[in-house]
Symmetry: C2
Subunit: 245 residues, 2 copies
Amino acid sequence: MNDVMRLLTQHRSIRKFTDDPVDQSTVEVCVQAGQAAATSSFIQACTVIQVSAGETRDKLAEWAGGQAYVSSAPVFMVFCADMKRHALACDMHQADMLSGYTEQFLTASIDCALFAQNVVTAAQSEGLGICYIGGLRNNPQAVSDALGLPDLVYPVFGLCLGYPDQNPETKPRLPLSVVLKQDTYDQTGDEATIREYDQHVRHYYETRTGGNKSMTWSEQISGMLQKEARPHMLPFLQERGFLKR
Amino acid sequence: MNDVMRLLTQHRSIRKFTDDPVDQSTVEVCVQAGQAAATSSFIQACTVIQVSAGETRDKLAEWAGGQAYVSSAPVFMVFCADMKRHALACDMHQADMLSGYTEQFLTASIDCALFAQNVVTAAQSEGLGICYIGGLRNNPQAVSDALGLPDLVYPVFGLCLGYPDQNPETKPRLPLSVVLKQDTYDQTGDEATIREYDQHVRHYYETRTGGNKSMTWSEQISGMLQKEARPHMLPFLQERGFLKR
């Protein structure tokens, strides 16, 4: 395993940052690393809104479910899937844009994720810690209004950046045999493997919380999936011009 | 800029590979680097199907629009968004799973993208070249059938891996000012910047193709967006149990 692989496998989310500021030049070089990621048919559909500390940031933290580090992180960015730029390209050539396709929503969202993961790796290579904030999707309309996002742009997730002031363990992942399959999808053996893995996860939570949390992976997942999953997302996205066909 | 950032910014897609085989241990360590990426609420919704060379691979190459390197690359993987594993977790706990939410489709797809981008970075750190294959979505039903994907699993994209037998230039990306914005989304100035960028892209294509292709970014995008974008995706995904609400 080389240094880059070691960096990647040592990832854990950081939710507590030192007061050390992050140079804007570091932010910019990280975003440029993000831009260098592969982009579907060259669409480059990711726009990053860097949000300075203050009122808007505090509101974002609240909408994300009261995640205080959204407010206090030295750097906070919102990754937006952006087809408005493509509407502009169409205007520049008097072209009628066919929008609203599920495929476009998917490629724009994936573009953002590939881009963001490069930003994350670049940041971590500089000793920064990160935390993705999917909680912005609790209230995507309010987030969009606060950032002035036009139609054809939506906030996919946020990202906190800063120098770590904590050193959590990495969280154990599913065994490789469950995740990497040969030639066909075959679930044989997965249940037994997940039952074994469940005990590692239980141990991880118990150790990390001094026994306060004791939960397996399958318990956590099955608990979560008995609840609605942000049912406002489909009408919100359609209203913004996505997922209409 | 450190070594990791240099690695990230030097990315270009590789479509021609040497005959040198890729050790399976290298594939596995890359996939483990993928697993280490952040995962929304710990869902770990990515399953990778590694497809050996042969008949299935040839068919995938054809369905992807006749991309021969899908067939000939030393390693080919299909990244699948997988909620079937979560159905299993629910079965293990006699829980009724609420599926079909747009939010679940989005988090599972993003999980795959974050995972894949780590695989890509890990592979490139070992001197491997890569090419994402979105073309599998030309015919996602045939791909799903060939790989035996059950409901609640869909092929997001493929990935070719191998040692590069070509050395293409990196493709120029949009200027940073278009992509990184402060506090609010503001398109002022973007059109002028894109017009300038367009000339870099034209120059890139002209140089690379000996003058055979001469196209700007905005021309390419506006041309693409006048056509339908895989209109089969929405009914396909709904049929597989996604995007139903």
